[in-house]
């Protein structure tokens, strides 16, 4: 095969698999996303076994095998646990102009973390433990992107 190969280009077929899906959020996910969309409120669920408040909400506690039946209202402020600052722009993928951040936020009243975008921060301002608050989208459609991003809390006055 070597001789034949010398001046040949390997055939490469370009493709893109686009399959439509319809993912159901389920009852628990739907109640959460409705509250986010319609009332700009964050809800968590509490496990009656270990007491953990899950956010995003879970129907079942993975540790206790108990149903997390109790809904808990969470604050729209929280604590930044860890973060990164994105330095490379991707024309199709970057959701915000550079530099934007990306981090794990624990909302007031929740025990678990929430992955989201960070924006409206100064260079060097982000740190673990920073208080942050949610900025909601004007048009909301029942997705975690109904929150546009989190930003550092700035006390007015």
């Amino acid at each position: 095969m070597e001789d034949w190969r010398k001046d040949q280009e390997i055939v490469v077929m370009e493709g893109r698999i686009k399959v439509p899906y319809r993912w159901a959020a389920g009852e628990v996910g739907t109640r959460y996303l409705q509250a986010l969309r319609d009332e700009m409120r964050f809800l968590g669920t509490r496990c009656p076994g270990c007491g953990i408040v899950y956010h995003p909400p879970r129907r079942n506690c993975p540790d206790c095998e108990r149903e997390c039946g109790e809904w808990v209202e969470l604050g729209e402020r929280g604590t930044l646990l860890t973060y990164t600052v994105v330095r490379r722009h991707h024309p199709q993928l970057s959701p915000l102009p550079l530099p934007f951040g990306y981090g794990i936020v624990r909302l007031e009243g929740a025990d678990t973390g929430f992955l989201h975008l960070l924006y409206e921060f100064q260079e060097g301002e982000l740190r673990a433990g920073l208080p942050v608050e949610a900025v909601f989208a004007q048009e909301r459609e029942g997705s975690v992107l109904d929150v546009r991003y989190f930003r550092p809390v700035r006390e007015v006055g």
Binding site: R5, I10, V12, G15, I17, Y21, W23, A25, G29, L33, C50, I52, P56, P62, D63, L81, T82, Y83, T84, V85, V86, R87, R88, L93, Y102, G103, I104, R106, D111, T112, G113, F114, L115, H116, L117, R127, A128, S143, V144, L145
Partner: protein, 396 residues
Amino acid sequence: MGKRVAVVGVGMTKQRSSRPDVNGQELINEAVRAALEDAGISRRDIDAVVIGNMDHFEGINYVDTWSVDGSGALMKPIMKLTTGGTTGTTVAMAAYYHVASGLFDRVLAVGWEKNSESDTTGAIITAFDPFWDRPIFAGAVAGLALEATQYMHLTGATEEDAAYVAVRERRHALNNPFAHLHINLTIEDVMNSPYLSWPVKMGDMCPRTDGACAVVFASEDVVEEFPNKPAWILAVADRHLWAYTSDPYVNQAIENGWWFPALEWSAREVYDKVGIKDPLKEIDVAELYLPYSFAGLRYMESLGFCERGGGPDLVRSGATDMGGECPVNPSGGVMSSNAIGATGLLRVAECALQIQGRAGDRQVPDVKIALATGFGGCFWSDVLLMGREMPEKPRG
């Protein structure tokens, strides 16, 4: 319980950025042929095949069947496994389970990937939860950057500490003709490489690689048939954390959630099974799934090689270099080659070569005990301990 199990043959392709000269089945076949030849057997001697990759990376979703042309599994039992980064170690552990069960004597494990065929980051993102992760999650680089930031926050470790690991891995790779990256990097090179997602720079990350690896596992009942010295599996363990990207960062249900409990718990389990008290001293070589440089600091602590926060001092002491107390990744590791489905299995194959004394220029002298790990997704872990001496009894 069951049978004792050894690795008796390994095969690997050269790890390369792109292999357009072969399709996936043909790439798999290169590793399978090499492993069978190394074990001195033909595919007809194999009782079952376990194969793994990540479907999204090639866009082929029936790899078990599709791969029989290459894997030698025609008309044999075959099982496909897909567990993210851990796929290769999961394949090894499943092959081990097959043989340890006593139901199969000779099982072939295969891990492979052609990362050149898709957008790896896009494929990783779309593997995650459609509601809670996918709209925000930015793939492996940014996900690992979150870990790095947290680690620096908790311990005071620096980007230079991480760069030391990045340099070590690439320096070791120069001894491995199968490695993808053969580059002589300095700490300055790593520090001057562009940020991908702060604090992770280009020089801190693993490459995307095309490659395959195959390993023959045999039962104690048939191990004498093979020309190679057996590399025994002493113990295996794995642990999975919660489901979402944000879960590892707050974890009150599991003690020490900030410290990678999946790796800690699985390491502790294999150490307890084998009676390892001081892993850094008792383990002669480690082939670890370190997908980026900061892992080479933090995972030292999770593996009990040093106290929490001691990772930077340990690696800077040279203990993990060739010639050190426990060389880490003589092969150059994941930061030098990352064909994801093959990566974990390569760790096991490299440990076998080290135990058998067949690792060429990357050989660590007189290896009696070797440690292999796999890392995946939201910080889950596989750990395998391997050794030169047959265990007194099967240990699971």
